[in-house]
Amino acid sequence: MPRTPIEPRFTVEYLSILDSDGNLDASLEPDIPPETLKALWRAMVLGRRLDERMLRLQRQGRIGTFAPIKGQEASQLGSVATLRPGDWMVPSFRETAAMVWRGWPIEKLLLFFAGFLEGGAPAPDQHDLPICIPVATQLPHAVGLAYAAQYRGDDAVVMAFFGDGATSEGDFHEAMNFAGVWHVPVVFVCQNNQWAISVPLKKQTHSRTLAQKALAYGIPGIQVDGNDLLAVYAASREAVDRARGGGGPTLIECVTYRLAMHTTADDPTRYRSEEEVREWERKDPLTRFRLYLEKKGLLEEGLEQRVDEEIAEAVRRFEALALADPLAMFDHVYGEPPVHLQEQRADLAARLEAASGGAAAPVGEPPSATPMRGQRVPRR
């Protein structure tokens, strides 16, 4: 009857396979086909270079605000690479590399960040949700997709991405709890990049790890070195297979770091030190994975150039896209446009008519664009 610890005790594991110096724990090395390893390396490089290119496009005012991924390539790719095409990916707003891996055309992403809804539409056959801006709100959607898949008897698995800050939102909690109760095939991938804009992890939660939050829902949680693609892949493989096998949800915490600014509207020097950033640059996920492939003799000549050319072509296609018709804003509000929207559409059509040069006039960026923080006011 006395005061007794509840048994079994609760444990959470930490997984690291390839350390920042490239040392490999061969006993844990996941068996990934050479072609996949090469594709993953290519995706990492593309993610890194696309980030840099998008930064330039934003500074030139050719696209608007976006969230760079630099430093988080391994977290995103090691996890998403374990999905099948028929599985579902549910991104937040910082998964460019994962989205490209899943088949999002680069020009479509650029269109999205240039302020066109057309950039947010997944392809008809694509099992991915679009970018989700409100933090953590996509997580219940992932659980609902997983429930629906289970209900229909499909063997699809759902993988949802979110950040460390997202774990503070009620939607994170409610989604995890529903997933636990429903025992649905969903894998929660938390990219713990140490910061939520200017808020460091220790101000975000008092728990030692984010992985341990899984204990609150009676589901497995694991913390992995998020800059170690092999560890992320191994943990994700295990979670995805368990989910597909009817083993229910898993929470994976990828310990990583956002090496660039939160978004192009952010100035990280206000809240974090250069030392901290340099510290993490030494743990760059690309460096160690490059070494790993080098040892395996899987590095290709001129990859960077080919990737840059692919990006350049995508940018050209993006630039070539004519400004879409403003009237399109009335499409897709409802299945069938109600009377009042037909009238409003006619109103805009008339205004566009009136404004000589038709569409041109009232379109384009708003007259008085206020920069967020240091952001320059872009002009197309």
Binding site: A146, Y334, E336, V339
Partner: protein
Amino acid sequence: MKLDMVKALNLALREEMERDRDVIIIGEDVGVDGGVFRVTDDLQRIFGSQRVIDSPLAEAAIIGTSVGMALYGLKPVCEIQFSGFAFQCFHQIENHAARYRSRTRSRFHCQMVIRMPYGGGVRALEHHTESEEQFYAHIPGLKMVVPSGPRTARALLASAIRDPDPVIFFEAKALYHAAREEVPEESETLPIGRASVVREGGDLTLIAYGAMLRVAREAADVLAAEDGAQCEVIDLLTVSPLDRETLVRSVQKTGRAVVVHEAPRSFGPGAEVAASIMEGAFLSLEAPVRRVASYDVSFVGFARERANVPDVARVVAAARETLAF
């Protein structure tokens, strides 16, 4: 058959679930218990606990997971136990249910219904008596439907479930057992977005919906009997998109209008009705459109509820002022 509104709603749910395996029900206590008001009574026994889901106590996840199910192709019918608790999921409704279609250019859309009991009349505690339709009516991408009795409830719920867009479906608690009404054997639907002229008249247009329709009708009887004034009574049925055409046509004939709702007056649905009538029938208007609504107070306690919610006397008084204007 003659059914009360609870039974009529229950029938519509059963019929739609039989019609379409993608229709599922989710909410707090909707399963074993059959819902706080028994609207989902017996459905879990018939369709199983995978299709009638007793969810954990979390409104945002009820709507959020339903959005996910809808994106996959299911057609969830969610129950929020009382409309006063729907603000917990308001972000999922406004950020997502209402927007996925536009955001993805119709690659995805949310065919889902969100049912909620609303309004007064059951001697209930705070958050169990309010009328929040205005909050949903202002959100593009949503439809806001409020039946006024057993037959319209059964038909509109069927329409809402088959509608490709997210529908907020308000059920007046005061009407659940208020009256039994003849409903046809065969399942029927009603067009969403269409108001209905339930009484013709040339002197004044009375506009109401939900539990207030009865109040408007009784006021029309009083005005006919005591003032010899013939009121045209319009049952909105759909608050949004608002059927402005039917309102305007009526007021072009009557020249006078009074709108009645349980929601607080200021910035409420009556304002849109009044403004739309002014825009569409200005030259026919012989008096300002009057609004009879609850006062701009928060919960008053059921002991004072009758003093706050519009009743026949208030509608009659407003109508007389309008007729005398």
